[in-house]
């Protein structure tokens, strides 16, 4: 059976967990202050330590960030081991991964999604577009960056941001 053979041959694919960039000692509620993590002003909620369900919102992305987010949950990066998991409904989610500039058509949808996510919650803007509109700044359909529409707790820079960077932010929230 091919699948059994593959499983045996490949064994563990996941790479060893990289060291945390906030030196591991910093309490998670200070993680947001870390320069790499970008800029949420308020503290990341302690209630989400150890477990972070995520709902992804594409507010107008070029899909580059989506590929990277997908990679985060692939066997290689395996973000699940840090307690993060993608879910289907914002009601089930603790955090929103928002990618792309916020386009006019997605503005209300983004606000609704944030409103639909129960407290405590984190909004993570993933990628340069989400942070400051990136390439698309000033385009006719663009309303603005994510923080212009909803409060953002953490940001991940990069165009697209590498999975490592995204996972770093997630680990800040889960504290693992």
């Amino acid at each position: 059976m091919g699948l059994v053979a593959s499983i045996r041959r490949l064994g563990r694919i996941a790479e060893p967990a990289p060291p945390t960039t906030w030196a591991g000692a910093a309490p998670p509620d200070q993680a947001s202050k870390h320069p790499e993590a970008g800029g949420g002003a308020e503290a990341l909620p302690a209630a989400l330590r150890g477990s972070l369900q995520l709902r992804h919102v594409d507010a107008g992305s070029c899909n580059g960030c989506e590929i990277e987010i997908g990679a985060c949950f692939s066997p290689v990066y395996d973000a699940e081991r840090y307690g993060a998991r993608l879910v289907a409904s914002p009601r089930h989610a603790d955090g929103l991964l928002v990618t792309g500039v916020v386009t006019r058509n997605m503005t209300d949808a983004l606000r609704d999604t944030v409103a639909a996510t129960p407290e405590p919650r984190v909004v993570i803007a993933v990628g340069d577009c989400a942070r400051d509109c990136g390439e698309f700044a000033g385009a006719y359909g663009v309303v603005g960056a994510v923080r212009d529409v909803v409060p953002v707790d953490a940001e991940v820079p990069g165009c697209p941001p590498p999975p490592d960077a995204i996972i770093q932010v997630l680990r800040q929230v889960t504290g693992r």
Binding site: A47, G50, E80, R81, R85
Partner: protein
């Protein structure tokens, strides 16, 4: 055998033994505490087989702990059904955990309900959740409810026929009696009837607990959901109860399956503290093995199309039917 066991047996006939009561409390506690671990273990096994590191078998507990601290959201237009459904689901699951012989066959609650009552209680929980799904008034809620109910309706014949196959040799449909008769007659486990019933029951467990290939518990795509679609509006503690109860149901059914066919180690009315502990360990081991097998099996399976599910269930019904007729025409040697 000494006269002591006879005393115990008499007590058992009266429906109450101290050991049984203790065992019942123990098994409820064990199931409540252990059910999330079983889920975690299965996810871990699956992660390992997929080459991932996995979140660890404690992850479900972390999830639950977090959910209990999260905000309750009560969507517009829903009624009390939405808010109470998780309680009903949890309550029936707990009751099942108390009735089913997990650690001991002598649960004083055994007389409260037999196999068919347990099946009914499972269905009560399912119904509560489907009503909650409908109560939200969202398209997905209705869709999930519709599918769940369809599957639940179609799985029912298999359950009862498989139950019949188990009850007939034991002469009773009370689970404690069935397991006890399996303990007393180990050879019966190896009969064709038992084997067929086992297969039928596995399908039942898969369908009842929403596992592959009937439902994909880890899907993110609403259109393919069954169970998940119904609970899309739940948050916080209620969602936690739903997930916890689902875990309990899976665990209890796995434990039941294990004890029905491999009853060794289970405590009975005569067991002391040691016996109960042995029973606990035994059942933990058995469930662990079964969970591993189940998780491993799921790696190899894809979800069936919804309209292929009836074929699976019809097949399992046939197997169950064969089990019953086999138990009549090919009785066990004893």
């Amino acid at each position: 055998m000494s006269g002591g066991t006879e005393v115990y047996a008499a007590q058992a006939a009266d429906g109450f033994s101290a050991s049984g009561a203790a065992g019942a409390v123990l098994q409820v506690a064990a199931v409540v505490a252990g059910a999330p671990l079983v889920i975690g273990w299965m996810r871990q096994v699956r992660a390992r087989l997929e080459g991932r590191a996995g979140a660890g078998w404690l992850q479900p507990w972390r999830d639950l702990r977090k959910l209990f601290a999260k905000q309750d959201v009560i969507p517009r237009g829903t009624t009390r059904v939405f808010t109470t459904a998780p309680l009903v689901l949890a309550a029936t699951s707990l009751l099942i955990a108390a009735i089913v012989p997990v650690v001991t066959t002598a649960s004083p609650l055994d007389e409260m309900g037999d196999l068919f009552a347990v099946v009914g209680l499972l269905l009560v929980g399912t119904v509560a959740l489907t009503l909650a799904g409908l109560d939200t008034g969202t398209a997905f809620g209705g869709m999930g409810a519709s599918r769940e109910v369809t599957i639940a309706a179609l799985v029912e014949p298999t359950i009862l026929v498989a139950g019949l196959a188990l009850s007939v040799p034991a002469g009773s449909s009370n689970l404690g009696a069935i397991v006890e008769s399996a303990v007393a007659d180990p050879g019966a486990v190896a009969t064709p009837a038992a084997a067929l019933a086992f297969i039928a029951l596995i399908v039942v467990v898969l369908a009842e607990t929403g596992r592959l290939p009937v439902d994909n518990p880890s899907t993110h795509l609403e259109l393919t959901m069954v169970h998940e679609a119904m609970v899309l509006e739940y948050t916080g503690a209620r969602l936690a109860l739903v997930e916890w109860a689902s875990a309990i149901r899976l665990t209890v059914l796995l434990a039941l399956l294990a004890n029905l066919f491999v009853p060794w180690g289970i405590a009975d009315a005569g067991s002391g503290v040691a016996g109960l502990l042995v029973g606990l360990v035994a059942v933990a081991a058995k469930v662990c093995v079964l969970a591993t097998l189940l998780a491993a099996g799921e790696v190899f399976l894809a979800k069936l199309r919804l309209f292929r599910v009836p074929e699976l269930l019809a097949g399992s019904f046939l197997i169950g039917l064969l089990a019953v007729t086999a138990s009549y025409f090919l009785p066990s040697p004893s």
